[in-house]
């Protein structure tokens, strides 16, 4: 029983006579179809989760990686002068593409969720914010901090790394969980198909004994079982994948306010990825049944 293109070709081509020698099996067929279908359905969601988490990590990473904020925390009478000084330093800093102080209106809008729209900025010691956008080379944050500390005592540089990294890390872990889920689903499919194949082999012990007696090779006997279970897993997983994709399509569409959950789905070419799930299930079933058949047949005379 050597694996290879020959056995795959034989599997796909089939042999009507060989298929007939193993009697149709009721519950193992239904079990395999159901297990493959259910697992494929779950795999579609795990894949969607993983891809959505990947997109999120990428978005957070790229959106925040090239920006920084300078806060000018100074008495009201020095705030404008220190802001000007900080902007001058930023203009001459290598790696800074643009730097601009936020207007009062922009700062008010940022604070509106907590203080309401009528906040008087002059009445509160609110720091002035400078938005810094880096160019593709990036800036030397440590060097800039030193310069600001020396020349603008009220300036604090925040390169967003403090809160960007945990977010990106969380999104990356979510993506990893998605892939681990897919691997676990594949392992569960393998386990269930192994059990079903072993049950089918045990139920057909007499058939196998007759086939051995009349000169059937292990390859021949195994192929009848392998082909059957592979095709069942393939068709069950195809059905589960289609149902899973329909469910994903029916999810609420992504929106600004919806956040992460409404972004769960596929974009562009990623819609093709779920169609690999039935192939994966078929491959898993092929390997699992083959291993089970090998073990069982090796124990027979």
């Amino acid at each position: 029983m050597k694996p290879g293109a020959g056995s795959l070709r034989a599997l796909l081509a089939g042999d009507r006579q060989a298929d007939r020698v193993v009697p149709p099996s009721g519950f193992t067929a239904q079990l395999t179809l159901f297990a493959a279908g259910a697992m494929a359905f779950l795999a579609v969601f795990a894949l969607a989760l993983s891809l959505a988490a990947g997109r999120l990590a990428e978005r957070w990473g790229s959106e925040l990686a090239r920006t920084a904020t300078v806060r000018i925390v100074a008495p009201l009478d020095q705030r404008a002068a220190q802001t000007e000084a900080a902007l001058r330093i930023l203009e001459t800093t290598r790696g800074v593409a643009t730097a601009r102080a936020l207007t009062d209106a922009e700062q008010q809008a940022l604070l509106a969720p907590w203080f309401g729209p009528d906040l008087a900025l002059d009445a509160l010691p609110v720091p002035r914010l400078i938005e810094v956008i880096e160019d593709s080379d990036g800036m030397d944050a440590a060097g800039l901090r030193l310069r600001l500390a020396a020349e603008v005592p009220g300036a604090v540089l925040d390169d967003h790394g403090r809160w960007r990294e945990p977010l990106v890390q969380a999104a990356s872990r979510l993506r990893l969980i998605g892939w681990v889920s897919i691997a676990l689903i594949a392992a569960a499919v393998a386990a269930m198909i192994t059990l079903a194949a072993q049950a089918a082999l045990a139920a057909n012990a007499q058939v196998i004994a007759v086939l051995r007696l009349v000169g059937a090779t292990d390859d021949y006997i195994a192929q009848a079982f392998v082909r059957r279970f592979t095709l069942r897993a393939l068709s069950g997983a195809a059905a589960g994948t289609v149902v899973g994709l329909i469910a994903v399509v029916l999810l609420p569409s992504a929106s600004e306010t919806g956040g992460f959950l409404t972004g769960l789905g596929f974009r562009g070419l990623h819609w093709l990825l779920p169609f690999l799930i039935p192939l994966l299930a078929g491959g898993v079933a092929f390997a699992a049944t083959r291993a089970a058949a090998r073990r069982t047949l090796r124990g027979l005379s």
């Binding site: 006579q17 060989a18 020698v21 007499q206 086939l211 090779t217 292990d218 005379s301």
Partner: protein, 225 residues
């Protein structure tokens, strides 16, 4: 063709067969007799690689059975037709498909062998039962079908283990005539039986060597049979 040299076989701590030397030459006819439990079936199984000897050598068509892989054993079984007392069929296939099974598993198409199959079914008198399922067959029909299945590959050797155990005298004689006919075609035949009357009835038609298993050993039976 099939040779056993100083073969012993032990099972469950006890020795069932000991120091067996036996040669089945091409075209020969043998009876193997002995009481129930003497080891006739075990000896038969050693002759087609279903069991491995615990000592000595079994050579199947020149090759030591211990050196044969599982696929090699399968090839040997295509050259050795086996008929068991409790013959087993695939109950979901009809009789003609069951008889044709050795051809099916060896990759020879049923169509190509169609003529052979029809001829064979006629030879064993089962033409009109070709579409019956195994559970619908009588004991005699099952034995004849088993013989047809055993010889469809035109094997060099036919091993029959108590082939007449479950059938009446007339049917036994009919089956025996078929086995004698096979021998006259040049096939080597070994029949295990405890039915001495069967052996006596055969002696007039074919030159048969009668072997008896006694005290774990095989010996040539005397003229008392």
């Amino acid at each position: 063709m099939i040779e056993l040299e100083n073969v012993a076989y032990s099972y469950g701590g006890g020795e069932l067969l000991s120091d067996i030397t036996l040669k089945l030459a091409p075209g020969s006819f043998h009876f193997l007799t002995g009481p129930s439990g003497a080891g006739k079936t075990t000896l038969m199984k050693l002759c087609y690689g279903a069991l491995l000897p615990t000592a000595g050598h079994v050579r199947l068509f020149g090759a030591d059975v211990r050196g044969l892989g599982r696929d090699d054993i399968a090839m040997v079984r295509r050259r050795v037709g086996v008929v068991h007392q409790d013959v087993q069929f695939l109950d979901h296939l009809d009789l003609s498909e069951n008889v044709n099974l050795p051809l099916t598993v060896s990759g020879r198409s049923a169509d190509a062998a169609g003529g052979d199959l029809a001829e064979l079914m006629s030879w064993v008198g089962l033409t009109n039962r070709a579409n019956a399922l195994p559970p619908e067959l009588s004991g005699g029909e099952r034995q004849r079908a088993a013989l047809a299945r055993a010889v469809i590959m035109s094997p060099d050797v036919v091993l029959a283990d108590e082939p007449t155990g479950n059938i009446d005298w007339d049917m036994s004689q009919r089956l025996l005539r078929l086995l004698i006919e096979l021998n006259k075609m040049g096939k080597t035949v070994l029949i295990a039986t405890h039915d001495l009357s069967l052996i006596r009835a055969t002696k007039a038609h074919v030159q048969a060597r009668v072997l008896r298993i006694a005290n774990r050993r095989v010996q040539l039976a005397g003229a008392d049979l």
